[in-house]
Symmetry: C2
Subunit: 110 residues, 2 copies
């Protein structure tokens, strides 16, 4: 027996940050561009940017700053607010995951 | 900001017990029949019984005992193994949920 666990953040009952967007934002940070991140996740630029904008609207904060060149090839980097949100979500997910694992072992591996 | 959390049990990488099946089994217990439980969940008898059988096969245990009358109207009740599994899953989910909530409050409501 094993278990799976998912946790995500919501704002006004709408999802704003889960594993999918976290991966995307982390890849934007690494690649320095939405296009590079989208490519690695096998999604279109349009989808990737759409997901980010949706989260920005729901959260009421900017997650990305697009650099000159814009959609036709410019770079992008995460805002300090995005970096802070990611850090908190990662810490939350990690700590929550450890607790879930401990409970699972208590009930199913004794 | 708020959060959502899901946890489910798997066997050999396949889901075997999550909120959906838990609801269904709990309703079978209350109604004493698969048909009554399925009706309350707005699913067909066939779907409900299919989901239960799939979990039984993956777990390698019987979850239900069907009474005389069978598919044409007989009742059903949970096996002791199902009752034990449900109890453990509910305790696990509840304890894990409390821990996740505590972590969320720590990171997002300070």
């Amino acid at each position: 027996m094993d278990y799976r666990f998912k946790v995500w953040l919501e704002q006004d009952g709408q999802p704003v940050l889960g594993d999918g967007l976290l991966n995307l934002l982390t890849l934007v940070r690494r690649h320095g561009s939405i296009r590079g991140a989208a490519g690695e996740m096998k999604m279109s630029y349009r989808q990737a940017w759409g997901n980010i904008k949706k989260a920005e609207n729901r959260l009421g904060i900017k997650l990305l700053i697009k650099q000159i060149g814009g959609e036709s090839g410019g770079g992008a980097h995460l805002t300090p607010e995005a970096e802070q949100l990611i850090r908190k979500y990662e810490d939350f997910r990690c700590e929550a995951g450890e607790a879930v694992k401990k409970s699972f072992l208590k009930y199913f591996r004794q």
